[in-house]
Amino acid sequence: MKKSLLIKLHLYSGLFTSFYLIAFGISAIILNHNIKVEKKDITHNWNTNIQVDTNLPNKELKEKIRDQLGLMGWTPPWEDKRDSTSFQFMITHTGRNYFLNLNLATGDLDISEAPKGIMAVIHGLHFFNGNIPNAPFFIRTWAVYQWLALFVMFISLFLGLWLWIKYNYKTWEGIAFGSLFIVSIIIMILL
């Protein structure tokens, strides 16, 4: 295969994943240093009245409310607090937390929103597979992008290595980075 074609392929595949790589690079550093990037501040409060069967078990009740409000997100059970008069729970996704307080007698619902902030969203893409309940189709396509981005990263990495070995190889680079490769493998074996 011609060198120019290999360079183009390396380049196209690199460009396709460039934003993904930056997001992952940032996220890797955040994880490694356990940096807290999620904002907790409530920025918006609103209320509404809903019609639901309040005798439903927690999980079904939360999902009915979420669907009625048209919100997307998971409903973590460890955030539930229920007594005879009220039901407090949370809806959460990669970019936002919703804290909900339902009056079981009247159906009045108070909702507080806490956006997690852009750094939390970029970091969250590391774990994100597009599969948020109630998410639109567009968000679900992330799973395809993620799969392709990883595949293309493979191609870009191998092509880059091939181009280096074939056209640009220097002995000292081979020894230095080859040694680093072996050291990295040994470190992993020791973990």
Partner: protein, 196 residues
């Protein structure tokens, strides 16, 4: 965009060395990412779980002799947790790529419960992906350093790659289409998650 040959060569070196220095970990992360996407293909039933109760003399589990106790019972990994339970027992957890040990030293210190999970090969490989952070034995700190290098490399070779492309193929419509569509798509996803 004007760029001298020296700058171009310098950026190309950064681009090359950033990837070469982290290629082992990058390959591991790429492989394990797919393994995590298809996690159902790799059964966790192959993990070996064991619960062991050991009668001990209190001096065996004192701070001075703790490393000896660990070696004797092959407790591997890095300590990630230590706390007193509500009943006053001491709880310690050790995590490595291929194993996990949960140890309870009962209040009277004459019995220790060791709950261990030895992961399958697939679980161990995925375990590398999940390990992070400084602290513990030397190899864990070197691994954390390599992980920082990977993070930095990902950012560096994405940025230098785009700059090098501008120099090489700035009039290439296919390249511009790929770059802009990637940018628009990722921005829309981030924007949607941020504001909805």
């Amino acid at each position: 965009m004007k760029m001298g040959i020296k700058t171009y060569t310098f950026l190309r070196k950064i681009h090359l060395y950033a990837s070469l220095s982290t290629v082992a970990l990058l390959l591991m992360y790429l492989v394990t990412s797919y393994m995590m996407i298809y996690h159902s293909w790799f059964s966790s039933n192959d993990n070996q779980e064991q619960v062991l109760s050991v009668k001990v003399d209190p001096s065996e589990v004192s701070d001075d002799n703790w490393e000896l106790f660990r070696n004797k019972h092959s407790i591997k990994g890095r300590q990630t947790r230590e706390y007193l339970t509500e009943s006053g027992d001491l709880y310690r957890e050790y995590v490595g790529a291929g194993s996990n040990f949960k140890i309870t030293i009962f209040d009277e210190k004459n019995e220790v419960k060791i709950k261990s999970v030895k992961r399958s090969l697939a679980g161990t490989i995925i375990g590398f992906h999940r390990l992070r952070g400084y602290g513990g034995p030397l190899q864990y700190n070197i691994y954390a350093l390599l992980l920082d290098a990977v993070g930095l490399s990902l950012i560096l070779f994405a940025i230098t790659g785009v700059i090098l492309w501008l120099k090489l193929l700035k009039n290439n419509k296919i390249a511009w289409t790929i770059l802009i569509s990637g940018f628009v798509y990722v921005s829309l996803i981030i924007g949607y998650l941020l504001f909805v």
